[in-house]
Symmetry: C2
């Protein structure tokens, strides 16, 4: 752990692409980033911050975690004392990899996985609070909820960033259409007309989101080390690169580990069930997009209709 | 629907192998069986009975359910008016296949699947009642709980049938050792010494419990027709046949459908998560038993240790 110098502190700024959680604006406490690709998350005082730090320490040294799974977690560089964004003075911050820093205009979804965000070890108060929110959102019905998002809609329109209240009111119908809009070239037009034209390159393919989700699923069917409560999958890609035909690999990272508990020899069935539900939704967008692209091709290859006088239309 | 004649009624009796639910003894209401392999379950008056009947009717005619999945459900023969076992007069009964009737001394586990038995559509009272029991048992921690069981221990000892209170107090540790005892030849000796000698033939093999669970899992990853709340897997086999070396196919049936609701295009992530957790437990018993049998073989094939004087021990 080290103390940041004030010249270094001057370089810190509010993250441009944070879609959920507390924002470091209007004198509030929130995470900061620098230009070297690091993300500074204030350690919450109620023990959650230390729990998250302890998770990263345990995780990084646990040899039971396979290498191909580590890429789904941000790199952690320990903790550091920094001036807090709310002006309250020096505060411990978790130093993490700024996972979206290499993207110019990322479209991002923060998907909180699991049909419950609470866990038996928590206090009754905490359980009731979580349960109430889990029932109010799609957590119970879908096994996951969208906790925040930004969709890049192009140079002129910029981002679609629904507010916290709107996000918390998302229904199953909304979630389904957001998963379509996320990979559509015409997302700004409206939900109904989403063309899902990027679905094959973002959700599909050997390096696509679906394959990554399936790789995670295989691990969750087996791992009994951790139970990831109230943890999110951050799913992101650069739409502009895809539009221009450049190779852009969509990414998934697990984030938010303040409520991780030991698995004690039992799989994380809560996370796994929700993950399988998300996989089903993503698969459906992908197969719908394939079907409609086959339909389009068949339509365009149809021979013209010949009229009685021999003219073809 | 038909009304049973009294001569027919006389043939009805209390099921010999019922391990959970209300028993038709001491003037109480419970299911009955006959000698032709039918199981008569009284329709509960609070609407649950009709919900279960409606499920069977919907399920039996739903062409989306694949044939290889139907074998995991009891056959339903509709409903019938019968004298209730508590002497209250004629009552509608669901007429089902008596799934264990062909077994002489079946070992049976009733495993209630899911990390919650409640569902959003239920009343707040019902939800709180279920939640409290889910937290008290292994439902929340394991994603399933053992709701009842009988283990056949041989001609002299008969069955081990723990009472309702004992079953409800099962911990994760108990569940793990019951899954071992279930496939052990020496189950009566005590938990610690379970030999798991039947694990390869009951849990393993192409027709074993594990393969059947995996077949169900594949369906649950895809099906969005039903959500099976508070539903059990009945797992059973005839230990005596296995001991004598006869081919005895272990069976799995899903039972208890009073709380099934429509899936509305979402997978049953609650059932699926619990099923995957059970699969992990069963796999572990199986791989432990394989390891110990390899170890035994290696031990027995070890060459004797030669002493200095050339004598081999």
């Amino acid at each position: 752990m080290s103390i940041a110098h004030s010249s270094f502190y001057n370089m810190l700024k509010v993250p441009e692409h944070q879609v959920a959680g507390h924002l470091a604006v209007d004198g509030k406490l929130g995470p900061l980033v620098d230009d070297s690709g690091r993300f500074y998350k204030p350690l919450q005082g109620d023990g959650r911050g230390n729990k998250e730090l302890a998770f990263y320490e345990s995780f990084s040294s646990d040899t039971r975690v396979p290498d191909h799974i580590r890429k789904y977690f941000p790199v952690c560089y320990g903790s550091q004392l920094l001036e807090a964004s709310n002006g309250s003075g020096l505060l411990h911050h978790l130093v993490l990899q700024d996972i979206v820093s290499s993207h110019r205009n990322p479209s991002i979804m923060d998907v909180k996985i699991g049909s419950r965000t609470w866990y038996p070890e928590a206090s009754d108060n905490y359980i009731q609070k979580c349960l109430e929110k889990d029932r109010r959102t799609t957590t119970v019905s879908l096994g996951f909820r969208i906790a925040g998002l930004q969709l890049y809609e192009g140079k002129e329109s910029g981002y679609w960033r629904p507010g916290r209240k709107e996000v918390q009111s998302f229904t199953v119908y909304n979630v389904r259409s957001i998963l379509r809009r996320f990979v559509s070239s015409n997302s700004s037009i409206g939900n109904e007309n989403s063309d899902c034209s990027f679905a094959p390159s973002i959700y599909g393919g050997s390096a696509g989101i679906l394959e990554q989700l399936l790789e995670l699923k295989a691990w969750f069917e087996d791992q009994t080390i951790y139970h990831f409560h109230s943890c999110s999958l951050l799913i992101f890609f650069d739409k502009e690169s895809v539009s221009k035909g450049s190779a852009s690999v969509p990414e998934i990272k697990l984030i938010d580990f303040a409520h991780v508990v030991e698995g004690k020899g039992v799989i994380d069935h809560n996370f796994l069930g929700g993950l399988c539900s998300l996989i089903k939704f993503v698969s459906e967008v992908l197969s719908d997009s394939k079907e409609s692209s086959i339909k389009d091709r068949v339509e365009s290859e149809k021979p013209g209709i010949c009229t009685d006088n021999g003219n073809c239309q």
